[in-house]
């Protein structure tokens, strides 16, 4: 199992690098789908079966299709290099390295980071649904209102002005 973690962690990091480095948005989108699928495998390794399939179906299936559709609709080609902001060129890389060091120190010095073996967690659709519709039923209902607002907002925003 550990070897699968390393393989798919490497896949996720390489694909994530490509998301950032590719010049064409559609390539970035395709590499982002690779990241999402690699993370779904990591979820499976962590026993989160339901979340792994939600990740594939909703994220890689629905959200990314929306992205690719918009990229093709707007005919997004190569991006021009920046001429305005010098901030990213001079301060961006040092700030990223500083953030990396800070998060690395925080992760490695955390006392709970020792090798522990937690008991297996049953996280199939049944137990997740149980929790969702008992303890988390109010957030679930609020979420439906959020989705309704998002649908209306998308229709209003993308409408052609008359």
């Amino acid at each position: 199992m550990a070897i699968l973690f390393y393989i798919f962690a490497a896949v996720a990091v390489i694909a994530g690098l490509n998301v950032v480095l590719q010049r064409r948005p559609v390539y970035s989108a395709l590499w982002l789908i690779v990241v999402l699928c690699a993370l779904a495998v990591e979820y499976l390794l962590l026993g989160a079966v339901f979340m792994a399939f939600i990740q594939i179906i909703v994220y890689a299936g629905a959200i990314m299709v929306l992205f690719v559709l918009v990229i093709m609709l707007l005919n997004a080609h190569h991006e021009e290099p920046t001429h305005g902001s010098q901030f990213a060129q001079w301060l961006g890389a040092p700030l990223v390295v500083a953030l990396l060091v800070e998060i690395g120190v925080a992760v490695w010095s955390w006392p709970g980071a020792a090798h522990v073996n937690p008991p297996p967690l049953r996280a199939g659709p049944k137990s997740v649904g149980d929790l969702l519709f008992h303890q988390y039923v109010l957030p679930f209902e609020v979420t439906s209102a959020l989705i309704l607002v998002a649908i209306l907002g998308a229709v209003v925003l993308a409408r052609k002005e008359s």
Binding site: M1, F5, A9, V13, G16, L17, V19, V20, S28, A29, L32, V35, L39, E42, Y43, L45, L46, A48, M51, I54, Q55, Y59, I63, F67, L73, L74, A76, E79, E80, G84, A88, G92, A93, L95, V96, L99, I103, G104, V107, A113, A114, V116, N117, P118, L121, A123, S127, V128, L131, L132, Q135, T143, L146, I147, V149, A150, G153, A154, L157, A158
Partner: protein
């Protein structure tokens, strides 16, 4: 079993890649995809914590994050379409009409 800190390290690396892309890229759709990358890094951390603390609540949080990300993607992409219609460009350098 792979220790928790390895999952958190992977999550941190992906989050920082997203942050770097957010700062470096000029295409607004790519910037939006970098935000999705950061959301996914956080999701991985939540699921790892849920596993190692034996608490299913973390997975429910991921569920809600995915739902909110779907709503965010619809509204965000609609805003991008409206922007493109008004400016004929996706480069954030040209979208400076609110700058002082």
């Amino acid at each position: 079993m792979v220790p928790l800190s390895y999952y958190l390290a992977l999550s941190a690396v992906l989050f920082i890649l997203g942050t770097a892309g957010f700062a470096l890229r000029r295409n607004i759709i790519t910037i939006f995809m970098c935000i999705e990358l950061m959301l996914n890094a956080v999701n991985l951390a939540l699921i790892a914590f849920s596993r190692f603390l034996s608490d299913l609540g973390g997975q429910l949080f991921v569920f809600f994050v995915i739902v909110v990300a779907a709503a965010e993607a619809t509204v965000g992409l609609a805003i991008i379409i409206a922007l493109y219609r008004n400016h004929e460009s996706l480069s954030v350098d040209k979208l400076d009409s609110m700058k002082l």
